[in-house]
Symmetry: C2
Subunit: 220 residues, 2 copies
Amino acid sequence: MSFSTSEENYLKAIFKIAERKGVPVSTNAIAKELHTSAASVTDMLQKLAEKQLVQYRKYRGVELTSDGKEVATQLIRKHRLWESFLVEKLGFSWDEVHDIAEQLEHIDSPLLVNRLDAFLDFPKFDPHGDPIPDRNGKFTLRSQIPLHQLSSGEVGIVIAVQNHEKGYLTLLDELDIQIGTSIRLIETFDFDNSLKIEVSDSREHLISDHISKNIYVRKV
Amino acid sequence: MSFSTSEENYLKAIFKIAERKGVPVSTNAIAKELHTSAASVTDMLQKLAEKQLVQYRKYRGVELTSDGKEVATQLIRKHRLWESFLVEKLGFSWDEVHDIAEQLEHIDSPLLVNRLDAFLDFPKFDPHGDPIPDRNGKFTLRSQIPLHQLSSGEVGIVIAVQNHEKGYLTLLDELDIQIGTSIRLIETFDFDNSLKIEVSDSREHLISDHISKNIYVRKV
DNA sequence: AAGAATATTTAGATTTACCTAAAAAAAAAT
DNA sequence: ATTTTTTTTTAGGTAAATCTAAATATTCTT
Ligand SMILES: [Mn+2]
Ligand SMILES: [Mn+2]
Ligand SMILES: [Mn+2]
Ligand SMILES: [Mn+2]
């Protein structure tokens, strides 16, 4: 009932791709997510299928079994709890924590995870606004829309960002955009889908579609 | 400048054996410490020697180079800081933390270690009384003697235990012996070197030489 | 419905970290 | 100073996780 770091990373990748693009998940999509070769992915899928963690049909892609989903969910729980710990208790900023959490999520101790959860007061969302599954694997659901889906003049509160790369997050810092920031959509430019926005009732910026599509808000 | 978990475990083992028994450290001693075969140890020593982490002479044993010592010291620092965190912040008891710290000590992030150190208020000793090296690798030295070196009637305060196994530590819990506990040596039995002791001016126990030799005290 | 392009699997290697059994060296005992 | 015992190294192999190149299956395009 314990898995290698490698097996865990594959299960988490499959879970995340399935969330974004649905099932079945293709070999190439996994290879891209994990920066590895398609051949390596095929090897691992056969292994995971034998262990009943995925349902695999040659040339047709994979889907997680309920066991596989359980493992992936616990990993995501650990990742997001550790990120919360690093920000809330150790004073890290949101652009510094992902890579460290990639390591910490593989620490194997259910007791530690639950103690950490309690120490943090059972947080429901991590520093990037992503929901933290509870000890039973249950995610808190919220309605959220990508920033560009606001109508002109509408205001949204940032509740999540979908990209955790350091470069992306420090760019948001430059724009004074964090979780909780209010953004008014002023105008959409159809030419390249860039947006003119007003941040916190003060600064105005023109942001690319690549930036805006990773920002999720709830309407006020 | 980054090493595998396996390489790190060998370096730490060599450091600890050298501390206890001096240099050079034999192949067999390492094999025993890491529960592995002598042949595996030889393989690894050759690899570590190539990387300039140990000075290795065939059939003659090894000694850490200054690079090797540096790596080992940082590992010990991480291990003991994580143990302190688990006890001080997450409410673990001293017999539950060693195995988890064995995993956490391999997390690679110097910034994390130093933030953790600050979060814990720069502790000088871990939950077992072992000194925590500072960020420059400096250990706080104290004079400590094994319990059996007290003379009859003398009192010592427990400042460290040398064995971290769960079984040993829960036994000490049974005897109400913790870091800081005062123990009076009542009598030594030469037959098997067992000791009659009085714990915290109240309970008397007869303890085996195997138990007493892992308890270190300072005279009051 | 072919043919071309893309995706996936298989074949065959490589690296790391192990192992057992045999050989060689060092240390201990006579 | 031999002989015996112990320690250490070498030889040869295995399993996990990766790779590249070649073969095969699927999907897209005409
Ligand atoms: Mn993350
Ligand atoms: Mn996150
Ligand atoms: Mn320990
Ligand atoms: Mn300790």
